[in-house]
Amino acid sequence: MSEARATILRQVLWNRLISVVEEQAQTLIRTSFSPVTRDAGDLSAGVFTTDGRMIAQAVTGTPGHVNSMARSVGHFLRAIPAADLRPGDVVISNDPWIGTGHLNDFVIVSPVFRAGRLIAFFACTSHLVDVGGIGIGFDARDVYQEGIRIPVLRFMCEGRVDPAVEAIIRANVRFPDEVIGEILSLVAANHGGGQALLRMCAEFGLDSIDDLAGFVFERSAEGMRNAIAALPPGTYHNSMRVDLIGDPITITAALTVGEGAIRVEFGGELAPSSRGINVPYCYTEAYAAFGVRCVVGPDIPNNHASLGAVAISAPEGSILNARFPAPVISRHILGHMMADIVLGCLAQAAPGRVPAEHSGTLWNLRLGRYGAAGGREDGGGARFTVLCFHSGGGGARPAQDGLAATAYPSGVQAIPVEVSEKSAPIRYRRRALRRDSGGPGRLRGGLGQIIEVEAREGAPMEVGAAFQRVKTPARGRQGGQEGAPGVVRLASGRPIQATGRQVVPAGDALIVETPGGGGFGDPAARDPALVAADLRAGRISAAAARAAYRVALTDAGEVDEAETARLRGAPR
């Protein structure tokens, strides 16, 4: 084959490999039993070399699996050497330190053989509806209380499900059919990916994909080197206050742009928690690296080499590098904040490219009624559990307003109200954009939303509250102001906390006002016509137009030029 042909072929194959993992992820979405997986996109899928290095990964809804997934196959191979695997074997684990940070995420790894020889691994993971344990919220005191933990072992041996493994899983979860169904979906996704890879090998006459992997790694590493070289070298510091639970903590980050690599070191008040909000390193690394990659080489696909150009570190045993058996079930609460902390460093290296702070951690409504059905202490009503994803506003961008009610860094999507009401006996009373919640700025932060929800049967329900940015709102950048902090309350006015498992009494309703994104630039420099348009659309109040933006409007909603000039000219 000529050198030119070989070059073209490698380009075609790289492309094909990316479509193979997308196909794998689509199979998973279509067969999934987990609303979190299929509607929200909380899954990942990838193909690996025989020594466990990731060559390609599907782009899905969750950055939390980015690096964690890439590392998982290596962990699996340390437990079961590749040489011990046979065609048709499928390996499983949900160990938070091996997989993607909490027990709900099951990782499935399947070897692919061609002509009797191992050529690759496929791995995928998704969020299962239930793993036993004490259920919603972060109240477990160690990982044992959080549910069943499956070490790395074979779920299938040479094409047959191990009945003992299946029986143990079934006996330890609340929805055994759905859980086993979901695991079989993961198995099917890997199988589909493997078949597609084998078709590719047959079409191009490949006995191995090692050369292709080498090419992908080399190109990706070089791409990352170039992207990093475009940033001014140096160390950039940022610190951010995070609500967490109880009192806010301060987290610091030092991001160093070095020779061909970016290094981030976390520090600050990192004492571990006795609740399930500790973050295994794999998850800290995933969200921090994701924040970096949104700015540095965003179009370079994820693989062993591109991820290797970004190194993340956090003190061993800290809340950002939790040690077994710390409880970790709600590791996303803090984990989701990693992206914004890192972006704050990068804003100094690349000021025109980084948005103001986002509202961050999802405002998920985890609702349920847990006791065994009809329990006297639970006030009657059917047992249920439901997880509704909701978000606050996005930070204003250097040339665009922030997005209203949009998840970041998580990429999940909200489940329609009608669908959530079908899956659980709840009723939304309201879901509307929240006026004046976007941080004022030359570019306005995105709006949060107001959501009001009640139990349909007039019985009490529980909420596993884990709401962030109530005490520490999203900050603005370059003169932009902060977004409105989040608010959690009950319709009755009775007290409720932003974090912790609590009861919403019968007949009452939970109201959450999700935080807004930070503003970008001086609000007094915002085009008055945009301020008037925001007022007409109900995104801001007349009072905010005057106080924050220094724009005066006539009764008809038009800009009062003279008064605006006076307001803006006045000393502050």
């Binding site: 479509s19 689509q26 009608e418 669908v419």
Partner: protein, 706 residues
């Protein structure tokens, strides 16, 4: 019957005259400000050329991008939305997600109805259809007054759970219609009675938004045609590949958005039936996009969701969701104008960005400096410059070579013409990849399919793409350049209805189901009757063919599988309906996902019905012999061979000069006015009596076609 089909596209309006089976075609420039003008002028020309009096035309078939353009350009009516109080922002909040994970700068499409025109009504229906908050008369009066005061020309009503209980929507709709006679009213329970408030609202708003414009346009078209002496009934092409009356189209204008591509799919379906091909892969490649569609047993498949106005043209999730029946086709950004570039990791990309017609490919010499697929085709010898676009555009090899060398050759270290070959191969891989993924989603292995290639660029890439899919036979039909309009001529009068129904299969009640079936059938018959009577009175009176389907899934899953239900076969089986459906579902599930069934209960999520009146013209039309044969002598020209990475001398033949029954072997190029057909080494091309070209790969299936 003498029939005319017209398809209004962005640049050209295609007109096809069917004079009792003899086809003639015409392309005229579209007149965007009054699209009916180009139609009427073009029709007059084509009739004059055929010496046919306007009064002799018996049927007029029409497809238009008007609805799509009104949405994309935000030129629709001043539209109000009435929503359940507290949910007025649903259309703006959407699904709260980012469709592009690593992009910090993405935007979402603006809602069609701005906040000031969104009104909340105090009422609430629960998921089971029960009323939690009654809708009182005073509230209806208040809403009517608000809509009137806002000066809305059209109003969309979308209340929570109206698919389960439409009573509140109907009362509001009746009041709005009665008290605001000039205002169009679209109710979500009519337009899209399916669960999911954001998608249902979005669909209903889009319908309301385009309704006044589409209704007015169709009215003008009727008047203009009448003035030109054409009194024939008009039928309009819907996105589901069905012809509908003007009245039905004006009521459900949102269903027009994909009428052109649907026409192409109907052509493919008719070709499949004509040649007796059970498994056909339709491949339509033009200047900007390629469309891929599976045709099985002479029918395309259907999808229940479409996205209009994608901010990123091909990025799923970046557009306005429309829950309407559409022909299930994959559209990807791969066409002659698709631009090639390398990214930061020196990965080669081709498309979806397109050079369009301005500046166009580098070879046009109109300022385009980035290499496109057309440039690559020119450099590889697949395009004959003097024949390109009928000679209307001069192509410059130098510009093309420079662009390819700079953007692809230099960064990847590829000498010419391998740089151009890389572009062609990548675009072919992208299209093959999209087809492969689509096939995988349906559990189909495409190697057993025949490829049908039409559209300006399809013939240039069909054989290499087919080879990637393991496909051994390609059909290139005549009149491929006006494929959509020809598709209108072979499409049936039909209408589809879908209803959300949640029920565990185990609890399926036959009585309730029978009632639902009767209601759906009556609704479909009422809508199809007019169109059917116009198209083929005999077939219409026979009552048409009902195709029933049911959406099923394992309880807890989010993706349904649509299972066709042959009711006659079910009755014959003697099985209870639930058991029968369970058997069909489990078999299909295993086939798609190669996975044993689970213990989880099966549930029904929706019923759908397509009522179709047979189209007697379809078969006959494609038997028409090819138009006048050309005369040019064979010649030799240089053509790049991918497999050997060499330029070799290939046979060049004029398509019109091929004799019926003649076979030529590759490497060869068969040229015609608007395109060429590449016959690579290892392939042969056979011309049949009806003007079809059949390409076969050596060693592939050699099954004879009639």
């Amino acid at each position: 019957m003498i029939r005319i089909a017209t398809d209004i596209g962005g640049t050209f309006t295609d007109i096809v005259l069917d004079d009792n089976g003899r086809l003639s075609t015409l392309k005229v420039l579209t007149t965007p400000e009054a699209p009916e003008r180009a139609v009427v002028e073009g029709v007059a020309r084509i009739l004059a050329a055929a010496a046919i009096a306007p009064g002799a035309v018996g049927l007029f078939l029409h497809g238009t991008t008007l609805a799509t353009n009104a949405v994309i350009e935000r030129r629709g009516a001043r539209t109000a939305l009435v929503a359940t109080a507290g949910f007025e922002d649903t259309v703006e909040i959407g699904r709260e997600h980012r469709y592009d994970q690593y992009n910090l700068y993405l935007e979402r499409p603006a809602p069609l109805v701005p906040p000031a025109l969104r009104f909340g009504v105090a009422e609430r229906v629960d998921v089971d259809g029960g009323v939690a908050t009654p809708l009182v008369e005073a509230e209806i009066a208040r809403i009517v007054a608000q809509v009137e005061q806002a000066g809305a020309q059209s109003v969309a009503v979308c209340l929570l759970h109206s698919y389960a209980n439409p009573a509140h929507e109907r009362r509001l709709g009746a009041a709005l219609a009665a008290r605001l006679p000039g205002v169009s009213v679209s109710l979500s329970c009519d337009i899209s009675p399916v669960i999911g408030e954001f998608e249902r609202s979005s669909t209903t708003c889009a319908n309301a938004y385009v309704q006044p414009a589409v209704a007015a346009y169709l009215g003008r078209m009727e008047t203009a045609l009448a003035a030109a002496g054409i009194a024939a009934p008009i039928l309009v092409m819907l996105s589901e590949g069905a012809l509908a009356s003007v009245a039905a189209a004006a009521r459900f204008p949102v269903r027009l958005v994909e009428s052109g591509p649907a026409g192409g799919a109907m052509l493919a379906a008719a070709v499949a039936r004509r040649i007796g091909c059970e498994r056909l892969l339709s491949f339509d490649m033009g200047g900007t996009t390629a469309k891929i569609c599976l045709i099985e047993d002479g029918r395309p498949q259907f999808e229940t969701m479409f996205e209009a106005d994608r901010i990123y043209r091909f990025r799923k999730g970046s557009g306005l969701p429309l829950r309407i029946p559409v022909v299930d086709l994959v559209e990807i950004g791969a066409g002659g104008g698709s631009i090639a570039r390398t990214d930061a990791a020196l990965r080669l990309h081709v498309g979806p960005e397109s050079a369009g017609s301005v500046p166009g490919p580098a070879a046009y010499g109109r300022g385009g400096t980035r290499p496109t697929v057309t440039d690559a085709d020119l450099l590889l010898g697949r395009i004959v410059p003097e024949r390109f676009a009928g000679g209307a555009i001069r192509l410059d090899r130098g510009h093309a070579a420079r662009a390819a060398a700079e953007a692809v050759g230099a960064p990847l270290g590829l000498p010419p013409p391998a740089d151009a070959a890389a572009i062609a191969e990548l675009v072919e891989e992208n299209m093959a990849g999209a087809a492969r993924t689509h096939g995988a989603e349906k559990g189909r292995d495409l190697a057993a399919y025949t490829l049908l290639a039409f559209g300006g660029a399809a013939g240039l890439h069909a054989a290499p793409m087919a080879a990637r899919l393991g496909i051994a036979e390609i059909i290139v039909p005549p009149n491929a350049g006006v494929g959509s309009a020809v598709g209108f001529l072979v499409a049936p009068a039909a209408f589809s209805i879908r209803r959300t129904v949640f029920a565990p299969l185990a609890a399926l009640d036959q009585g309730t189901t029978d009632t639902l079936w009767r209601e759906m059938a009556a609704e479909a018959r009422a809508i199809v009757a007019t169109a059917g009577a116009a198209q083929a009175p005999a077939a219409a009176s026979a009552g048409g063919v009902e195709s029933w389907a049911v959406d099923l899934r394992y309880a807890g899953q989010g993706t349904d599988i649509t299972i066709p239900l042959d009711r006659a076969a079910w009755w014959a089986s003697g099985e209870p309906l639930a058991a029968h459906l369970a058997r069909l579902f489990e078999a299909e599930y295993v086939r798609r996902f190669a996975r044993e069934r689970t213990n989880v209960a099966i549930e029904i999520t929706a019923w759908s019905l397509t009522l179709e009146l047979p189209q007697p013209e379809a078969e006959r039309l494609l038997d028409a012999p090819a138009a006048g044969a050309g005369h040019a002598a064979p010649s030799l020209r240089p053509l790049y061979d991918l497999a050997s990475d060499r330029v070799e001398q290939a046979m060049m033949r004029e398509r019109g000069s091929l004799r019926a029954g003649e076979t030529i072997t590759g490497p060869a190029l068969i040229v015609e006015d608007h395109t060429s057909v590449l016959v690579p080494r290892g392939w042969s091309a056979h011309a049949d009596a009806a003007g079809f070209l059949v390409l076969r790969r050596a060693g592939g299936a050699t099954e004879a076609r009639p």
